[in-house]
């Protein structure tokens, strides 16, 4: 894949990394080789567990002590062999010749030092210059990463910055010593969509300016398409496909790559019947959190309005999407609608019955017909229970089914509904992957034969190909059982594929609402436009002929 005329900056050959674990030994990376060309971006794409992060860490000698690196592994950087280099030499290279940015900017900045002093420290570690000069340079760097009011930011602590700003500071740190290679490990995954686009633009600009090479590690195909020249698709520790980005996207060779590219959610929901009855309806729902602050004698309580008089209507067999960035109040709204948290105003109706003023113990019959699936399948299943107990819990507490055998049968049917084998019933959650866990969580909701299901970001903790499977599953279940969904997500693509109507939220308020096609194709408000651009622009400004294309 290397081109003769271009200069190769880094050559990695036969990288193998393994880890001893409790049940034996895991080979995380098996014989990975690639070249990074001067000034270009190489993307390592793969799902979680594919070994892409481990590969990047192996390049820099930053693996954990338990890791076992293969004997034939070789990493040549500007003609120098990095594998087997003593730790002090590697330390010199890290942060100067090669630097790295990580996924979570909060944890990679030290919370007890100011932003400025961290950048200055990084500069002085690799360059000899007076401290004053280093500080000036730090200021220039902050200007370069386009942080507003850089002079003031220098003396601020990481917690005073937003997530996107912190990532900018991380980038400033990474380019402080003008590295030849920047390794970006999922640099935008923890950020909101509109911020993601800005950060990617910034990295691209800086790369061009400094002539850096970038090794981009990501699971997000859109990010890859937008930023990289070449691509390596990893799976189970191996590279299954490599090539120029455009070639791989337009003409994928390996079935796994094809599968990944097809995993982008697409399609649209089936039309509704003419006049379906109401399922769940909220009228001017208001949720207020009381925040206490001030000293003991001067206690103030402040109201934080998480959901501000939001009205929403979900009809039978209808799916309504709620979109917004983190902190917009979308999850709070969902939980309040199904009475898992209490609301402070407005009216909630399920069918014809008003439920917002009903006592907890009188909600029992509601619990069987309204269910919820949470975002993180790793915290939504009790680790001490087996699958049978987890799914059957709702049946047991509501006295559904006459005997254990009866309930077992219902659990079996629910597992079949989510396409899992019945023999998983006696296993513990930790034995399953994220996607399988999410299926179990869905089965737990489905076994109750609900009419309405709240889906709180059910796919955002999952890999892309798993996401597509879960969305297909949710579609099937909706059509099969005539379910109503309230689908909370920050991912507009998922919403578009699944929902009839959509509600865009920001800071607890509804920004825009209406039929999905209308809102996403022709957004009226600035905020909605920004969201739509961030989600779809990446593809639309490139090629017009792929299945990814929104229009």
């Amino acid at each position: 894949m290397s081109t003769d005329s271009q200069q190769i900056l880094l050559t990695a050959r036969d990288i193998e990394v393994g880890f001893p674990i409790i049940e034996g030994f895991v080979q995380a990376v098996r014989g990975v080789s690639f070249d990074i060309i001067q000034g270009e971006t190489l993307a390592l794409v793969g799902e979680s567990g594919s070994g892409k992060s481990v590969t990047a860490r192996a390049l820099m000698g930053m693996l954990s002590e338990r890791a076992v690196v293969g004997k034939n592994a070789s990493v040549e950087f500007s003609g120098q062999q990095l594998i087997g280099l003593p730790e002090e030499r590697l330390q010199k290279m890290r942060g100067s010749a090669i630097s790295m940015i990580f996924q979570e900017p909060m944890t990679s900045l030290n919370p007890i030092y100011t932003v400025g002093s961290q950048i200055v420290e990084s500069i002085l570690a690799h360059q000899k210059m007076p401290k004053k000069e280093a500080r000036l340079k730090a200021l220039r760097l902050l200007q370069e990463v386009q942080i507003p009011r850089p002079e003031a930011r220098l003396d601020q602590y990481p917690h005073q910055l937003s997530g996107g700003q912190r990532q900018r500071v991380m980038i400033a740190l990474a380019i402080a010593n003008e590295p030849k290679l920047l390794i970006a490990d999922e640099p935008t995954t923890a950020l909101d969509v509109t911020i993601q686009a800005q950060i990617l633009r910034l990295i691209k600009d800086l790369q061009f300016k400094y002539g850096m090479s970038v090794l981009l590690i990501t699971h997000d195909l859109n990010v890859v398409r937008k930023t990289s020249e070449q691509i390596c698709v990893m799976r189970n520790g191996e590279i299954v496909e490599r090539g120029f980005t455009e070639d791989v996207f337009t003409n994928p060779q390996h079935p796994y790559t094809k599968h990944l590219i097809q995993s982008e959610p697409k399609g649209s929901p089936p039309p509704l019947q003419s006049e379906p009855a109401n399922s769940l309806q909220g009228n001017k729902v208001r949720v207020v959190y009381k925040i206490r602050h001030g000293s003991f004698f001067n206690r103030k309580t402040e109201d934080l309005v998480a959901v501000n008089d939001v009205s929403i209507k979900v009809r039978q067999s209808e799916s309504v999407g709620v979109v917004g960035e983190s902190g917009s109040g979308k999850t709070t709204l969902g939980l309040a609608l199904i009475r898992l948290i209490s609301s402070q105003g407005g009216e909630i109706r399920f069918g014809d019955r008003r439920i917002d003023n009903v006592e907890r113990k009188d909600l029992r019959d509601l619990r069987t017909s309204v269910q919820v699936v949470f975002q993180d399948p790793f915290s939504s299943l009790n680790p001490r229970m087996i699958v049978r107990q987890i799914i059957a819990e709702g049946l047991v507490v509501n006295n559904i089914g006459n005997s254990d055998a009866d309930r077992d049968e219902m659990v079996r049917i629910a597992l079949k509904d989510v396409q899992m084998e019945p023999d998983v019933m006696d296993r513990f959650p930790h034995e399953f992957s994220g996607g399988q866990r999410q299926r179990i969580a869905i089965a737990r909701a489905m076994v109750m034969k609900p009419k309405f299901v709240l889906l709180d970001e059910p796919t955002s903790a999952l890999d892309l190909s798993i996401q597509a499977q879960i969305i297909d599953l949710l579609k099937d279940l909706r059509d099969k059982h005539k379910l109503s969904y309230l689908f909370i997500s920050h991912d507009l693509k998922v919403i578009k594929a699944l929902c009839h109507n959509v509600l865009v939220m920001q800071h607890g308020n509804v920004v825009e609402a209406g039929p999905t096609e209308q809102v996403l194709v022709n957004p009226q408000k600035e905020y909605t436009k920004a969201l739509v651009n961030a989600a779809f622009e990446v593809v639309s400004n490139r090629s017009q002929s792929t299945s990814l294309n929104f229009n």
Binding site: V26, S48, S64, L363, V372, Q375, R384, E393, S433
Partner: protein, 370 residues
């Protein structure tokens, strides 16, 4: 790191099976556990392992030094049956100081499963002991020497293990139970109940431990029955121990309460007691187990310390601490340094429990491969 690969296991391992697997990979934890189990067995069957009754006095042999076991005599002959030398006592005519010398002519061979002073176990009267010497010939065996009344320190040490461990388990068990109940209720029900309980907990935590122990123990009747003193002593230790633990449990419960699986249980309509007993309490057990293994050595140390000061376990009960109480003065220490033997027992027990606790602490999170 995106490490989510896991070799497919054939059989489903429960949480505790995973913990065990991880635990047994740490040699020091396994050794610690082995020592802990040995000490517990020694304590439970103390009379069987000890050659004498702890109350038996030997008026002719007070402050006798330890005898060592031999397999070879001075001529270098090997004896398959171990033996100890008798000890002769000589007084220096000038200083009136006693000196003890092993006498190579007196060989006391050890016999196994001998009959000696009777002992009771679970209401059964027994008189077999693991080993001893032929007392009818006037032979004696004091492996760790004797005290001021000529009692066998080795036997006392074993009996003392019993009381010391009993105290530790009693205190930790009761304090743990109170701590769990209070902590779980406080964390889950929150509101006013939590507010009141936490103020009580803070009140108890604010006490300076040591002066309070001494003051409370001073309240105990001096001439009270030893068993009563023992129980009161345990009660005082419990009183001051549950508070911190209930705090920790409360914190755990609060964090578990907000996890999605508890939300999911609420969403299917599970009742509060069910959520508590099925979802919250089982997920605190790992912490409870670790707390217990760390608290046991703590209580052992405290008990020894207070009994050493003479305010803890009272005679005729014997604990390691009360044995040390006998060498409070320098004179007896100088005369019979072997009476310090319980110190070795305390150190060994505390280290063993801590090693086990460290291993458990690492093992209770079996999902992270560290």
């Amino acid at each position: 790191m995106n490490m989510n690969l896991r070799s497919q296991s054939k059989k489903s391992l429960t949480y505790w099976e995973l913990v065990r697997k991880k635990f047994f990979r740490k040699p020091y934890a396994v050794i610690g556990t082995f020592i802990v189990i040995t000490i517990i067995i020694l304590g439970i069957f103390a009379p069987f392992f000890s050659p004498y009754s702890p109350t038996r006095t030997d008026r002719e042999r007070q402050y006798f030094p330890p005898q060592t076991l031999h397999f070879f005599d001075q001529e270098g002959n090997f004896h398959p049956r171990p033996f100890v030398y008798g000890i002769t006592e000589e007084m220096d005519p000038n200083t009136y100081e006693f000196s003890f010398m092993p006498d190579p002519n007196q060989k006391f061979f050890i016999h196994f499963f001998t009959k000696a002073e009777p002992w009771r176990f679970l209401g059964i009267n027994l008189e077999t002991r693991l080993f001893g010497v032929d007392r009818n010939k006037g032979e004696y065996i004091y492996l760790v020497g004797t005290d001021n009344l000529g009692r066998d320190i080795f036997s006392k040490l074993l009996i003392g293990t019993r009381i010391t461990l009993l105290m530790a388990f009693l205190v930790v068990g009761t304090a743990g139970l109170i701590g769990i109940v209070v902590g779980v209720c406080s964390g889950y029900f929150a509101g006013t109940f939590d507010l009141v309980t936490q103020r009580i907990v803070e009140f108890i935590l604010a006490f300076p431990d040591l002066p309070l122990y001494l003051a409370l123990l001073a309240l105990l009747p001096r001439r009270a029955d030893a068993v009563l003193v023992f129980i009161m002593f345990a009660a005082i230790l419990v009183l001051l121990r549950w508070a911190q633990f209930s705090r920790e449990i409360r914190g755990m419960v609060i964090s578990i309460r907000s996890l999605d699986y508890v939300r999911a249980a609420e969403a299917v309509g599970a009742s509060r007691p069910r959520i508590l007993l099925r979802h919250i309490v089982p997920n605190t057990t790992s912490h409870i187990v670790v707390w217990v293994t760390y608290q046991l050595p703590d209580v052992i140390l405290l008990e020894s310390f207070l009994s050493f000061l003479g305010v803890g376990v009272q005679p005729p009960m014997v604990s390691w601490g009360s044995m040390l109480n006998q060498i409070l003065d320098f004179q007896s220490f100088n005369r019979a340094p072997w009476m310090m033997a319980p110190v070795a027992g305390i150190i060994l027990t505390v280290l063993a429990f801590n090693a086990m606790g460290d291993g458990l602490r690492d093992a209770v999170d079996p999902y992270s491969d560290k």
